[in-house]
């Protein structure tokens, strides 16, 4: 067979995929989104797709290309077809972030928080449902930017900001706005990358040498048999013992580093979540994480819940003025979880995770400090500094009015986005009995209605802010 034929078939096949992609993008342009970003992204993806299609089309009649070996030709085509698969991923995020599927009330306030308060001017967000009971973060901008650089598609005139992210939330819980305070953890991933916190924190994780030595010796003994048996008549270890111990130490250290890397990241994102959202983040964590993760024992990339709550309670303990204003029911809720959290020491699933975990427990203050610094002065939310606002908002909610604003010296001022979530939790945790009696409905219905009231407050709050800006 002529060697030019299969390579032309390959090109033709990739072009077909590009055309199908183009057809798929077209109706997405007519959907409604919570921000302008998806529309802009679709245009970029369309341009990108056209660029790939043109590049490949040009290759068919390119004599240089036809003179390449089959392997070289295939490599050339794959440069573009691989890129196409990334466009496909990006489009699928857009497809799932349209208005019926996203949490429309949250998109603009989160953008405002990250762009204005956390100084990430090029932050953009696609908020999309997941078919699983979890939250996720995906650095879409970094991915696309990396791919475009690698494949030198410069003629598509596309630049993707680094802070262009997608955040997934549990799709069946779209309406539970208060639980979505957990999105702050995913925003944490964004700041974690941006501020290079991994490098800053991992160097501080130092497992206790004595425990590490003891583990290495124990494992070495298991590997080569009893250490005593290997001792020379003078009582010294053989060379092979030491080689074995060096190998095991290296292996153990690598595993400790791997666990530390994952856990420090998760814990720092928790700390950032708290810095961004205040106690609402702890409330949501207690509601959600206890549902999906065991309280003790770790799950691979995530530390045990006990470690996470120890960190969050350490941060809550600093909010003394906030703790003063709590309703007894909320206080009881917090105290009961706090007692459970601090009652026992953290239990780990393996000696290695114990070594890593204990080392991380020793750097909690550093984690909090770095998280605070990454969030920045303007992004940091302190419930203690907002007790007056919270009390006024709680009163509004108890009057069954959305907590979007407060009256200060005869002027209605927009409440802080985070204060809306926190005041919502403060009332939610009191049980909603009064709301239920007022509405004469089942408790669940009153909870649904309550979440709608908070979502409405967030929407109105953002409308008020934007209105002032455009006047």
């Amino acid at each position: 067979m002529d060697s030019a034929r299969p390579r032309n078939y390959l090109i033709s096949s990739v072009i077909d995929h590009c055309l199908a992609f183009s057809d798929h993008l077209e109706p997405l342009r007519f959907r409604q989104y919570a921000s302008k970003f998806p529309e802009g992204l679709l245009t970029c993806l369309g341009n990108f797709n056209t660029a790939i299609e043109n590049k490949l089309g040009a290759l068919i009649n390119d004599l240089d290309f036809q003179s390449l070996t089959d392997e070289e030709a295939e490599e050339n085509v794959l440069r573009y077809s691989t890129l196409y698969s990334y466009l496909y991923v990006a489009a699928s995020f857009v497809e799932r972030s349209d208005i019926p599927h996203t949490i429309v009330e949250l998109v603009q306030p989160i953008k405002r928080l990250m762009q204005q308060q956390c100084q990430l001017g090029d932050f953009e967000l696609l908020l999309h449902p997941l078919p699983i009971l979890n939250y996720s973060f995906f650095p879409l901008g970094a991915l696309l930017s990396d791919v475009t650089t690698q494949l030198s598609i410069s003629d598509a005139s596309i630049t993707f900001p680094e802070q262009l992210v997608t955040i997934g939330f549990p799709g069946l819980e779209t309406e539970r706005i208060l639980v979505h305070s957990l999105i702050a953890h995913e925003l944490g991933h964004c700041l974690y990358i941006k501020h290079g916190l991994e490098q800053k924190l991992l160097t501080r994780v130092k497992p206790i040498e004595k425990e590490l030595d003891s583990l290495v010796k124990e494992w070495a003994a298991t590997k080569v048999g009893s250490t005593e048996a290997k001792e020379t008549p003078t009582g010294q270890h053989t060379l092979s013992d030491y080689i074995s111990q060096v190998e095991i130490r290296s292996l153990v250290t690598r595993q400790i580093n791997s666990i530390s890397k994952a856990w420090v990241k998760e814990l720092t994102c928790d700390a950032i979540g708290y810095c961004l959202s205040g106690p609402a983040y702890l409330f949501a964590s207690l509601d959600f994480l206890t549902l999906i993760n065991p309280f003790d024992n770790d799950l691979g990339k995530h530390p045990p819940n006990r470690m996470r709550f120890l960190l969050l309670y350490k941060m809550l303990d600093e909010e003394k003025d906030f703790l003063e204003i709590l309703d007894p029911k909320v206080k009881e809720f917090l105290d009961s979880w706090k007692n459970v959290t601090r009652k026992k020491s953290v239990k780990f699933s393996s000696p290695i995770s114990r070594l890593a975990g204990n080392a991380i427990l020793n750097i909690y203050q550093h984690i909090i400090d770095e998280a605070t610094s990454a969030v920045g002065y303007n992004g940091l939310y302190s419930a203690s500094k907002n007790t007056t606002e919270l009390q006024k908002l709680v009163k509004r909610i108890n009057d069954h009015v959305p907590p979007n604003e407060i009256l200060v010296n005869g002027v209605f001022n927009e409440a802080k986005f985070q204060s809306i979530l926190n005041s919502g939790w403060l009332v939610y945790l009191t049980g909603l009995g009064e709301l239920q009696r007022e509405l004469k409905v089942e408790l669940w219905e009153s909870k649904v209605k309550f979440n709608e009231l908070i979502a409405r407050a967030i929407e109105l709050n953002e409308v008020q802010r934007r209105w002032k800006e455009v006047q």
Partner: protein
Amino acid sequence: MSIVSADILRKLIYEEELVITPLLDAEKQLHKGSASIDLRLGTRFIASRKGQLTHIDVTEPDFDNKIANLQDTYYVRIGDFFVLHPGHFVLAGTLEYLSLPSNLAGNVITRSSWGRYGLIIATAIGVHPAFKGILTLELRNLADVPLKLYPGRRILQVFFHKVEQTEKKEFDRSAYLISTKPGIGKFVSEKSEIDSIRNFDDYQHFPFSK
């Protein structure tokens, strides 16, 4: 009953006796010397999925849920628009959330400027004392050209009047209490009345039972 002036409404709002939130532009919404407040179109619209909706019969069991599942909800961002075609009927809501004191009631009408282009926003909206929630609007375009509706525009006005109560008492709450989105009509509380009407018949009729 006297109608409450805009100046009094403003006073009630700033004393937090009456809640109307957000009040994006108090000067424009509460004209000096007027006797009403202008409210804005909200961001959500509800339209029937006509291809699947055969009829509406409020006497059918579980009618509310059935109809609710045959509606499409549209969210339109402020800055964007919704086109209301001639003859089209959709539900929408006010942008503002209201909380009325127990001695105030309201009546809703279309702002006349819109009415002159054929827009009807409410056929039967009375706002009762102690009501809390957004107002659901029944939008219909009576003209013969489509109308672009922009959330955030002032399209209705509410006239408030004092209600004389002999004493502060428990209110028979509306089914639409604390609503934050427009909603379809609810007849749950009228079930016994609907049953009575369904069973309404001759006192005795042929064939007579023995």
